[in-house]
Each structure stands twice: as structure tokens, then as C-alpha cells.
């Protein structure tokens, strides 16, 4: 069925290049998944006796007849004392190997694409998926500049994280299962970015949701992890509902679901068309679900229950950016719906600020990074929200670099803490910053690289974060006048005012980002060590297989900025706006519509002031943190005083989870249990109608039987009364 149907694109310049084998990109990780999955199952599976009912008879005298196999992992993150999985060696070859192959192929296709300077996308149709009536969906891959950038990020950072996982998860008995899920995730993610139509993208979309469910709940013997996985899937599903409805609207109004078709139909719509706004709002609901934006962000912090490399890959670099990719992919559609764009930008900005506030007061190192991711995603949505798709994608890329570095760095910190606690059989929380402190003496490499990432995310010049974040802020500022957004309005507030508010929110978020990142660095690496005397000698740098990828990511965080130097630098440092030209063919039309055709230009003076303010904000944040926070005053977690006042509110994440639970979950369960099930089903239909009618017939039967008293006297009476009645009737006739 994978026959190469004669792609209409035969004439396409990429047709005869290595791009022909693009379908191998997703298929390689799929093969990895199948192989690792088989390895995992083969080891764990012992088919039971022919007669299963025997289980309940023999009460456990041979319950655990010494099955040598890998009974799955137990203990949260401290699984290292279990026996190493027998086929771990083979798996650690296949898992990352498949990813590296995929990355190599992606690089080859990238080179071919650069050489070919293609104008329109290369669509590789594999086979017809759902041919019914007017609707005909094919399984087809679309190779263009945007999907190329995403593929490179996914396969590149994916390989690094796979290599890191080899070290991090080496002692986990569920080792092959872990790599199987990770490979499956990469398969679905590639399907998402390479899909040529919305339904195929949706397959990848829910596929990654499924994999994040499996990976978050990887150590499923802990109820908390399993709950977190379930929560992630269901909240994603709410987002998917939005995506589905958007697809229905598209099909009902445009008659097609392929990107090209929708792009062309969207081009024909006039700016501000109702259909486009509706579709975009539903698409944004889907994106919010997947990329953890304000209403539906609650699953991302809980997703930290999964292994750290998973958090790095899924909840920092790739999956969560799917929403941004979706908006960038439907650039033209969003461009003709300014109100929708304003909503996207506004929600993005609000999320950025809101998440940043919570990030200030978290003690778990991964929770801090999680909220920082939510906040940075908010930034990306601001970027694509205001029509600066290149800026959004650029920040997506740089964020992928330094956030992956931060997560993997925290991974190696946690790994080291685990090793130490494991030696002394201490069951302290290895992820709590209050138990860390002064680790720079023990883990210099991680310490240095983490500082690079922190400076990058804070937006200090030279580092990649500065360029991408600054570009978004300047883009917002540039669009305050002379853009479709400015004219449009949201809830009556004119676009311009909104854009200024968004700019302000952006600055506030940047300030808080600098503060909590510096806070994290101070508490983890600086000041006295709080892990404890016995553990201190065991605290040492993670093995090279883990720190290697860190170094690569460190370099990328440093160099990343050069990919899209702002126009202002005028080629002084290097080629200007590389990424902007690269993505021009894909998002160019959409961006032009927003800026009413001409490229937004700010006078040099304003641009310099904007850059100045951004740098000032970053430096101020770091300085404030360094000045106010005293790591020495910190105390180990077990005897740390409880939080009070605003700190407690922030630590308890504004009680949003409790609010959702009380407002949505409990009422639904309550209503469906008491009203729907007991009330209508058991009560009304079953009780009243079904059993009720049965009761009625029995009652009539009982009444009838009362007349048969058995006493002859009664019968005599009945006869006489009957006679009287009959004669009476006759007498009236």
C-alpha cells in the first residue's frame, strides 16, 4: 500500500532529489518503536496457563515463581537499584540510532532544499486514506521550509535527548518500553509537522498526546504519575475538540482540508471574515490545549511527573510547540482574521505573565522550568499572534535549544542528587531546590552550561534568547500602527491599545523570567550545600553520555541568535534575517496581509530604544534577583518553614487546579451520578416506566384475587347483586 503513487509533483525540483525518501523520516522512528516494543514485551510476557480460572483456586502458594524477567519499574525516579534490563544494550543502540539516521536524512533533504530554492511545497502523496463522497483525505507528506525547520529541530534535539536518556534511564527496568514510547513520540511528531492536510496533522496531533500520556505515566505504579498522564490526555483532548470543529468548519465552507486548498481559499476571503475568525478561534482552542496556553495550561506542570528527558523533549522542545506550528502553518487564514489574531496574542501575553508569577515561588526545579516553558510559549503565541510568524518560529527554535539545555541540566542535577541519596538510602525529594545549593563546586560543566541557558532565556545580548525575544517585542511595537491588527478591535478595545498592553505584558514577563531563572541558579548552584554531610562526597558530575548533549545544546544556545540577526545590525555581525528569507515562501503571504503589504519599518531611534529597554529589563531582573535573594538563608526542604501570604498563593499556583476541580470535574461527576444515572436511568426510565409497569400489572392481579375469598356467602352475595343489577337494567329498558 506504500506504493509511490505518481505524485502530481513529479515536475517539482525536489522530486528527484533525496526528498523522494522523505517518507522514511517518520517511518524510521516507527520501526524503532516496533523493535523496542517487541523487545520490551518479549521480556515481560509469560503467557499464562490454558485454564485461566486456576488463578482464583490456588491461593498464591506459587504466586511469584521467581520470574526472572523485568517486572516493571517501581519507585519514583529512584529505580536505579533494580536489575538492568537484559536487552538494554541493544535498545540503547536502536533507540538513538534510529533518531540519528532520521536526523541525517533530514539534513540531506535540507541541503537539497537549500540548493533547489523551491517556491511552493513538495507534496509526496503515499495513499488515499478516507475517500468518501466529496471528502477525499490522502496520507501525504508536505516538505517546505517551515516543516523543514521543525523536522530539523525535532530530529536534532530528539537525537540529543535520546543520547542523554541512554545515561539517565540506564538502570530503569522499563528501559526498552521507555525508548519504544520515545520513538513512537518522534514518529507522531514528524507526522504532525510533515502532514500535508489537517486530518493527517490531527493524527500526529493526538498521537503525540497519546505518547505524552504514556510517557508522563511511565512509572505508572505511582497513582500521581498515572493521574498526571490521564490529566494531560484529557486536557489535550479538549483542545483536540476545538481542532476537530475547526476542521469541520473548513470542510463545510472550503470543501477541502489540505493546506494548499485552505491557503488558497483563505486568500480569497476579505480581511475580518466571520468564517475565518471562527475557524481560527477553534484552531487556537486546539493550539491552547496542546501548547498549554491560559485556560488549558494546567496539565504541563503536572506533566513533570514523567522522566526528565521526556520533559525536555516533549514538554519543552517539540510537542508543546505544535500549537505555534499550527498557527504558523495557517498563516493566511489567521491573517484575514485580525480579531482572532488579537485574541491569540492577548492570551499569549496573559499566559506569559501569569505563568511567570507562579514560577517565582516554586521549589521543585522542574516545576520552575515547566512554568517558564508555559510563559515562553505565551511569548511565541504573541509572536505568531501579531502576524510576525518568523519571529514566533525563531523564538520557538531558540527556546527549544536553551529550554532543552535547562531541562537536561536539571536532569543531570537530579541524577546526581539521586545517586547521592541512593548511596545513603535517604528518601529526600531529589528535585527540591532547598535540598540542593552550592552544586557549582561539584558539577562545574552543568553549572557553566546552565548559566549560558539562563542568560539566553533572560535575553542578555549575544545569547540567542535576546535576538528572538527582542524581535517579537519589536514586531508587536511595529504593528501598533499601520497593520490590520491596529484597525481591528477586540471586545470594543481598539487594536493599537491592545498591542501596547501586550508589549507591556511582554516586558513584565521578561522581567519576571530573568528573576526566577536567576533565583533557580542561585538556589541550585550558589550558596552553601544543603544536601547533607553524608551525601556531599557522592555529588559528582553526570557521565559524559549525559553531559555531551548538554555541551552541544550550550553551543546552540550561544550561536542560535545568529540565524536571524535583526535588520538593524546591517550585516555587521553576519548575514541578516536568514530565517526570515528562508520562511518567506511559506508565511510571507500571511505576514504581508497583516502589515497591509509593505514591510513594517521603525525609525532607527525607536528600534534602538526598544532594544535598550529589553536589555535594561533583563539586566535589572538578574540584578534584582542577585540583590534580594540570599541562598545562604535557605534551609533544607524537610525543615523549611511553610509559605505565607502571596508566596503561598503563588506556590499553590493561584489554586487554579482546585478551582477547575471544583467548577468542572466534581459537578460533572456529581450530575452524571445523581441526576443522569440514578435519577433518569435507574429512577425514571427503569424505576418508573419499566419496573413500574410490571408493578402495575401485578397490582391489578392482586386486586382480582381479593374477590376469591373462598367463602360461599360472598359468592351468593355477588350473584344476587348481579341479578339485581341486571333486572334493574331491564326494568329501565
Amino acid at each position: 500500500m506504500l506504493t509511490q503513487t505518481d505524485a502530481p509533483m513529479t515536475g517539482h525540483p525536489l522530486a528527484d532529489t533525496v526528498a523522494r525518501f522523505a517518507w522514511l523520516l517518520p517511518v524510521l522512528p516507527l520501526l524503532g518503536f516496533l523493535f523496542n516494543g517487541f523487545l520490551s514485551l518479549r521480556a515481560a510476557a509469560h503467557p499464562g496457563p490454558a485454564d485461566p480460572t486456576a488463578a482464583s483456586h490456588d491461593h498464591g502458594e506459587h504466586g511469584d515463581h521467581g520470574d526472572h524477567g523485568a517486572h516493571d519499574a517501581h519507585g519514583h525516579d529512584d529505580a536505579h537499584h533494580a536489575a538492568r534490563h537484559p536487552s538494554a544494550g541493544l535498545v540503547s543502540l536502536i533507540g538513538p540510532g534510529v533518531l540519528l539516521l532520521s536526523f541525517g536524512l533530514a539534513l540531506a533533504v535540507f541541503v537539497a532544499m537549500r540548493a533547489a530554492h523551491i517556491e511552493e511545497a513538495y507534496v509526496l502523496t503515499l495513499f488515499q486514506w478516507m475517500p468518501t463522497g466529496k471528502l477525499s483525505i490522502d496520507v501525504a507528506l508536505q516538505l517546505d521550509q517551515l516543516s523543514m525547520v521543525m523536522t530539523l529541530i525535532i530530529t536534532g534535539i530528539g537525537s540529543l535527548i535520546h543520547i542523554f536518556s541512554v545515561g539517565y534511564m540506564q538502570d530503569d527496568p522499563g528501559y526498552p518500553r521507555y525508548f519504544a514510547y520515545l520513538n513512537l513520540f518522534v514518529f507522531f511528531m514528524l507526522l504532525l509537522v510533515l502532514g500535508a492536510n489537517y486530518p493527517l496533522m490531527f493524527v500526529g496531533w493526538e498521537g503525540v498526546g497519546l505518547c505524552s500520556y504514556l510517557l508522563i505515566g511511565f512509572w505508572f505504579h505511582e497513582k500521581a504519575n498515572a493521574d498526571a498522564g490521564k490529566k494531560a490526555f484529557i486536557v489535550n483532548r479538549i483542545g483536540d475538540f476545538g481542532f476537530l470543529v475547526a476542521m469541520f468548519l473548513m470542510f463545510a465552507n472550503f470543501g477541502t482540508l489540505s493546506f494548499a486548498g485552505v491557503e488558497e481559499a483563505a486568500g480569497g476571503l476579505m480581511v475580518g471574515s466571520l468564517i475565518a475568525t471562527a475557524i481560527c478561534l477553534f484552531l487556537f482552542l486546539g493550539a491552547a490545549g496542546k501548547s498549554a496556553q491560559l485556560p488549558l495550561y494546567i496539565w504541563l506542570p503536572d506533566a513533570m511527573a514523567g522522566p526528565t528527558p521526556v520533559s525536555a523533549l516533549i514538554h519543552a522542545a517539540t510537542m508543546v510547540t505544535a500549537g505555534v506550528y499550527l498557527v504558523a502553518r495557517s498563516a493566511t487564514l489567521f491573517a484575514v482574521a485580525p480579531t482572532a489574531q488579537l485574541t491569540v496574542a492577548l492570551v499569549g501575553a496573559l499566559t506569559a505573565v501569569f505563568a511567570a508569577t507562579i514560577g517565582l515561588k516554586q521549589w521543585d526545579i522542574k516545576k520552575v522550568l515547566a512554568y517558564s516553558t508555559v510563559s515562553q510559549l505565551g511569548y511565541m503565541f504573541v509572536g505568531v499572534g501579531v502576524g510576525a510568524y518568523t519571529a514566533g518560529v525563531f523564538h520557538l527554535m531558540t527556546h527549544a535549544f536553551f529550554k532543552a539545555l535547562l531541562f537536561l541540566g536539571s536532569g543531570s542535577v537530579i541524577y546526581a542528587m539521586h545517586k547521592a541519596y541512593h548511596e545513603t538510602h535517604n528518601h529526600e525529594d531529589a528535585q527540591d531546590m532547598r535540598n540542593m545549593g552550592g552544586l557549582r563546586r561539584h558539577m562545574p560543566i552543568t553549572f557553566g552550561l546552565m548559566w549560558i541557558a539562563t542568560l539566553a532565556i533572560a535575553g542578555i545580548p549575544v545569547f540567542s534568547g535576546f535576538f528572538s525575544k527582542d524581535e517579537i517585542l519589536t514586531a508587536v511595537f511595529a504593528r501598533t500602527h499601520g497593520s490590520t491588527l491596529a484597525e481591528a478591535s477586540l471586545f470594543g478595545i481598539p487594536g493599537t491599545a491592545l498591542l501596547y498592553a501586550i508589549y507591556a505584558l511582554g516586558l513584565a514577563a521578561a522581567l519576571m523570567t530573568a528573576i526566577y531563572m536567576t533565583r533557580m541558579m542561585l538556589y541550585t548552584f550558589h550558596g552553601p550545600n544543603r544536601t547533607g554531610e553524608a551525601e556531599r562526597p557522592h555529588l559528582k558530575e553526570a557521565p559524559w553520555v549525559m553531559t555531551g548533549p548538554l555541551v552541544v545544546l550550550g553551543v546552540l544556545s550561544l550561536v542560535g541568535g545568529w540565524m536571524n540577526l535583526p535588520l538593524i545590525t546591517g550585516g555587521a555581525i553576519g548575514p541578516v534575517e536568514l530565517l526570515h528569507h528562508w520562511l518567506e515562501p511559506v508565511v510571507g503571504t500571511g505576514a504581508n496581509i497583516v502589515t497591509l503589504g509593505e514591510t513594517p519599518h521603525l525609525s532607527h531611534a525607536t528600534e534602538y530604544t526598544l532594544i535598550g529597554t529589553a536589555v535594561f529589563i533583563a539586566v535589572a531582573g538578574i540584578a534584582f534577583a542577585l540583590w534580594r535573594l540570599k541562598p545562604a538563608a535557605l534551609v533544607a526542604a524537610k525543615d523549611a518553614p511553610a509559605e505565607q501570604g502571596i508566596a503561598k498563593v503563588l506556590h499553590d499556583k493561584w489554586y487554579v487546579d482546585e478551582a477547575y476541580d471544583a467548577a468542572v470535574v466534581q459537578p460533572t461527576l456529581g450530575v452524571s451520578r445523581t441526576v443522569l444515572w440514578k435519577g433518569i436511568d435507574a429512577g425514571l426510565i427503569d424505576g418508573l416506566l419499566v419496573n413500574g409497569s410490571a408493578l402495575l400489572t401485578r397490582a391489578f392481579g392482586w386486586m382480582g384475587s381479593q374477590a376469591q375469598t373462598g367463602r360461599v356467602g360472598t359468592y351468593a352475595w355477588v350473584i344476587v347483586l348481579g341479578a339485581v343489577a341486571v333486572l334493574g337494567a331491564f326494568s329501565f329498558l
Partner: protein
């Protein structure tokens, strides 16, 4: 003459009915039924003077039936009496619903 006999017949019939409804003793009940039959016989005879002797033939049949019924009825009462030592009708209610 016929009108008076019809009236008498009706009266006797009514007394028979009242007897059936008020008495508890099985045998007296039978007798009341016999009385009702006699009443009917009377009206038969009374009307046979007008409509020919068919009425009287019919009375004959009524009498034979009454005889048969009395015989069987009393046999049953005796059987019940032997079993229950009482012919009070209210006690005999085995055939209850």
C-alpha cells in the same frame, strides 16, 4: 288469580334470597334454595294457565333437578361435616384466591 300468584311467587323468591344471604348453616341454605325453586315453580304453573301445559312440564323438570341437587348437595355437606365437624359455611374457605 295469576297476578296474585306471580306476586306471591316473587315474595317467596325474595324470602328465599334473604334466607340464602343471612344464614350460615349449609343445610338451611339448601332449603332456602329449595324455597326459591318452589317460588319459580309457582310462577311457571301460574303462567301455564295462560300459555299451555309446557309450563307444567317444565316444573316437572325443575323438581327432578331439585331432587338431584339436594341429594348431591347433602352428600357433600355430610362429607364436609365428617371432616370439619361443622357446616358453618364461613369456615369452609379452602378454595381461597
Amino acid at each position: 288469580m295469576v297476578a296474585e300468584s306471580l306476586a306471591l311467587s316473587a315474595a317467596l323468591f325474595t324470602i328465599g334470597v334473604i334466607g340464602v344471604l343471612t344464614r350460615r348453616n349449609a343445610i338451611i341454605l339448601f332449603m332456602c334454595v329449595e324455597l326459591m325453586l318452589n317460588a319459580v315453580n309457582l310462577s311457571f304453573v301460574a303462567l301455564s294457565t295462560l300459555y299451555g301445559a309446557a309450563g307444567q312440564v317444565f316444573v316437572l323438570f325443575v323438581i327432578t333437578v331439585a331432587a338431584a341437587e339436594a341429594a348431591v348437595g347433602l352428600a357433600i355437606v355430610i362429607a364436609i361435616f365428617r371432616h370439619r365437624q361443622s357446616v358453618n359455611l364461613d369456615d369452609i374457605n379452602l378454595l381461597k384466591g
